[in-house]
């Protein structure tokens, strides 16, 4: 892999230079006394952090309906966030034109629900912290692609904790050219290696119903999902979840119902809707006030469904979402 080695402070220098233009912005992470969080930088990078070991939401959520014509934005985000960004680009919820998406190697994250006083943000220390404690989120443990290999460019971390910048698209090359130094061959072995494939997700309706029985239908999972992009969800209307008089009508027609009704329906339909675009970030689970293991189900199903079409959400910009295309000669054994 041809890459540029980033010396200490190099990227901050480059981005500060970039921010001198009034029309330029950077979305990345900021470290302050309260921890690490997303921030859009306008003037200069203050307290910038490459890594964000705390997960509250998926950053792509902030990018939905971003059609910033003429503004240049650099994203320096986790791979799951960039992958969600790529899916949103495919769904034209983001105009890609003025955005450079850079994915940064991710060493795993800890839920912001956990009680933590201090968490390191330096690569080596963080790696050790994640290995020593068992605080890493389950979604991160089973992450499909924690490496910065998606988007326009990537920032990789080698075994010594040094950062390397490399590009994947033309835009990424533009980004790389802003960095001083020459391209050189990066080490083969990086801190994070390719993940092994997980066994096929398998569950049953009983377990599913048990896990989701706690659901209060607040729909936070939907609202925090980066790829649940609809302006007006079907579950806002009366089609699937009748309310008030419509609900009573339904009860008169179909008999008693437990409340809140439609839990399984909501989750299964949403699961199908995001099946090809889910990046498995676990933002839904973070948002759930009831502690329902959503990631297990959503990530598990979506990986199975994506696997059928050899698709992986967010892997690249050019792969079509499987439901929107077809081959005439395929899936011969689907018919019963």
């Amino acid at each position: 892999m041809q890459a540029k080695k980033l010396n200490n402070g190099a990227i901050e220098g480059v981005l500060n230079e970039f921010l001198k233009d009034e029309q330029h912005l950077v979305l990345g992470f900021e470290k302050d006394k309260n921890g690490v969080s997303h921030r859009i930088f306008k003037k200069s990078l203050d307290q910038y952090s490459f890594l964000n070991p705390l997960f509250s939401t998926n950053g792509a959520l902030f990018l939905r309906r971003l059609f910033a014509k003429g503004m240049q934005i650099v994203l320096l985000l986790r791979p799951c966030e960039i992958r969600a960004y790529v899916e949103l680009v495919k769904l034209t919820q983001i105009e890609r034109e003025d955005i450079i998406a850079v994915s940064v190697d991710c060493l795993g994250t800890v839920s912001t629900k956990e009680k933590i006083d201090e968490i390191p943000t330096e690569a080596g220390q963080l790696d050790a912290y994640m290995k020593e404690t068992d605080k890493m989120r389950w979604a991160c443990k089973v992450c499909r692609e924690p490496r910065g290999v998606v988007g326009d460019a990537g920032i990789r971390i080698d075994k010594n904790g040094a950062f390397w910048a490399t590009s994947y698209t033309e835009k990424g090359e533009g980004f790389l050219s802003m960095i001083e130094g020459n391209l050189e061959e990066a080490p083969k072995e990086m801190l994070i290696s390719e993940k092994e494939k997980l066994p096929k997700f398998q569950t049953n309706m009983d377990d599913f119903e048990k896990d989701f029985s706690k659901c209060i239908m607040c729909m936070n999972c939907r609202d925090m999902c980066p790829v649940c992009y609809c302006i007006d969800c079907v579950f806002n209307g009366d089609e699937y979840l009748p309310k008030g008089d419509a609900l009573l009508n339904k009860v008169f027609r179909t008999g008693s119902t437990n409340m809140p009704q439609g839990k399984e329906l909501f989750h299964l339909i949403r699961m199908y809707h995001v099946s090809q675009t889910c990046v498995g970030c676990g933002a839904c689970e973070e948002a759930c006030p009831q502690g329902i293991p959503l990631t297990k189900y959503f990530k598990g199903t979506s990986e199975r469904l994506q696997g059928m079409f050899a698709y992986m959400s967010g892997r690249n910009f050019d792969e079509a979402i499987p439901y929107l295309t077809f081959l005439e000669d395929e899936l011969k054994d689907v018919e019963d």
């Binding site: 992009y229 609809c230 302006i231 027609r253 929107l324």
Partner: protein
């Protein structure tokens, strides 16, 4: 909401296995149901009057008719609503005959199933809204594909009625297979004579354009204005046709498929069609021994042709008669399964032939072996249960009709379904035998199953009459079942646009929402099921309707 429910007895057809009285009583108590009646024949004049009266007196705003399947009597009931000043799309049809009373035998079970089906219709109809039928202008012209007897008779009728006719024939000459036939029974005319007569009728007409040696290279558009592109010897030609009659005929069965008959390997084994051509030039001994085999390529499960070709028995009789007329002392033996001389006078013709001296042996012929001395036929006499072996100087195979060679090509081009034997399938075998599932596209002649000359001519003319009815109006109603977008709900993800087969969805860059180009929309509803928020929905089949149908059908399970 005031819904009127009308449950048809269909004589005994529905009443026999569904308790219609119980159902009509049951639905009387339903909220939003104003009228609930059962009636012996809802489609009859008094039945229609009853519905009309109810609409007018009770002020119904939904009409639900539980009767036969929706594809029957559709226009009749629609017109009925129109006459009563009610939007025809507030009509709901529920099939309790084809999908219920004819399917099961138990009265109680069927009544419950019918109740659920009607309930589903009732819930679904609650979401119906008045829709406006779009009116399109219809070009008064017809494309007729195939210049055989069916095509010619259709062309003759349509042109006589003043329609522009484009007749397309793949071969260089008009007339199809009939041209080669001699002394066609019962008219006793040569095929050429019949064809020449038909062609002469067209020749003087200005509104007939005949394209021979021509194929269709493209076919697009909708009823009333189909865009046709022809590949003629003079180059490409484009035209607009209001409707189409497909009359591409049949392909004679090729006996090579049955190797035991040794057809093609010996000149003395010929088909009935070859006999027509060569009858006068055949080299035969003085008193020839001639065998005629019936059902070659018909009623034969092994080669995938289980159907009767209808014409070959008469053809076999014609061969026997011709030989006997020419040479009284010849030995002519027909090997048959059973003689099906369908048409009027056919049975008498069969007797005449027997009287002339043609022998008929009910037999299964196993093989024909050519030897220098003669053709040896081995088989089993199925009346006496004996095996036989006899020698002949000539064997005539009475071949059946196979589907036309271009059947798949044409089926794709015109969206016609093929039946199990690969002939074209009619919309309804009894009630709509000339129609296809596509409006304005008709089938005629033997491409929709074996037919003799007379039947083919009639079929062609009948299709032409049907098409004329459509064309002559000069306008047509187009179903308003197309998609529409709720821009407030549209997220502008363009998924529907990507998936749309008709490319009828366009994206508005400024508003970041999509809209539907109504003329191009085919109404399949793919966009509706692709949109996660159902911001785009198919009129007449919106999510709420289907969801409520599901609820009704699963009620109290």
């Amino acid at each position: 909401m005031k819904t009127g429910i009308f449950i048809c007895h269909c004589g005994h057809n529905i009443k026999h296995t569904i308790d219609v009285k119980k159902l009509s009583q049951y639905f009387k108590k339903y909220p939003n149901v104003t009228v609930s009646e059962d009636y012996p024949f809802v489609c009859s004049e008094p039945g229609q009057d009853m519905i009309r009266e109810s609409i007018e007196k009770q002020g119904l705003d939904r009409v639900l008719i539980a009767s036969c399947t929706p594809s029957l009597h559709g226009d009749l009931f629609k017109d009925l609503l129109k006459k009563s000043d009610l939007n025809p799309f507030l009509l709901r049809r529920v099939s309790i005959r084809e999908h219920c009373s004819w399917v099961g035998d138990d009265l109680e079970i069927n009544t419950e199933k019918a109740r659920r089906l009607i309930l589903a219709g009732l819930y679904s109809a609650a979401h119906y809204v008045p829709l406006e039928e779009k009116v399109v202008e219809v070009t008064k012209s017809a494309l007729i594909v195939g210049g055989g007897v069916s095509g010619l008779s259709a062309a003759a009728f349509l042109s006589k009625m003043g329609m522009q006719v484009y007749l397309v024939e793949k071969e260089a000459e008009l007339g199809g297979h009939v041209r080669a036939l001699k002394n066609i029974w019962p008219a006793r005319k040569d095929g050429k004579e019949i064809i020449d007569e038909m062609v002469a009728e067209l020749a003087g007409r200005k509104n007939v354009e005949i394209f021979t040696s021509t194929t269709i290279s493209a076919f697009e558009g909708f009823f009333g204005n189909y865009e046709v592109t022809l590949a003629t010897p003079e180059g490409e030609k484009k035209m607009t046709a209001g409707g189409v009659i497909v009359a591409i005929g049949f392909a004679p069965f090729d006996p090579i498929v049955k190797p035991e008959l040794n057809y093609g390997k010996d000149e003395r084994i010929i088909t009935t069609l070859e006999f027509e051509e060569r009858a006068d030039t055949l080299q035969l001994p003085e008193n020839p021994r001639i065998a005629i085999l019936h059902c070659v390529g018909s009623r034969d499960e092994q080669i995938g042709k289980p159907y009767c070709s209808r014409v070959c028995c008469i053809n076999a009789l014609r061969v026997g008669e011709a030989v006997k007329n020419k040479c009284k002392d010849s030995y002519v033996e027909s090997f048959y399964m059973d003689v099906r001389a369908h048409p009027r006078g056919g049975e008498e013709y069969f007797e005449d032939t027997q009287e002339k001296g043609v022998l008929f042996t009910r037999a299964n012929v196993a093989e024909i072996t050519p030897t220098p001395a003669g053709l040896v036929i081995r088989g089993e006499d199925t009346l006496f249960g004996e095996f036989f072996e006899r020698e002949f100087d000539l064997v005539v195979l009475s071949i059946g009709m196979s589907p036309p060679i271009d059947n798949k090509l044409m089926a794709t081009l015109f969206k016609i379904t093929l039946d199990k034997d690969k002939f074209f399938l009619e919309a309804h075998i009894k009630l709509r035998p000339f129609d296809t599932a596509v409006k304005g596209i008709f089938i005629a002649g033997s491409c929709s199953g074996p037919k003799d000359v007379e039947e083919s001519i009639n079929h062609g003319r009948a299709s032409a009459v049907k098409l004329f009815g459509f064309l002559n109006l000069g306008y047509a109603f187009v179903d308003p079942f197309i998609s529409s977008v709720d821009p407030k709900r549209c997220s502008g993800c363009r998924m529907c646009e990507t998936a749309c087969v008709a490319k009828a969805i366009k994206f508005d860059e400024a508003k970041r929402v999509v809209h539907v180009e109504e003329a191009a929309c085919m109404g399949c509803g793919l966009c509706n099921s692709t949109c996660p928020s159902s911001a785009i929905s198919l009129k007449g089949s919106i999510d709420m309707m289907i969801d409520d149908e599901i609820s009704a059908l699963t009620e109290a399970i």
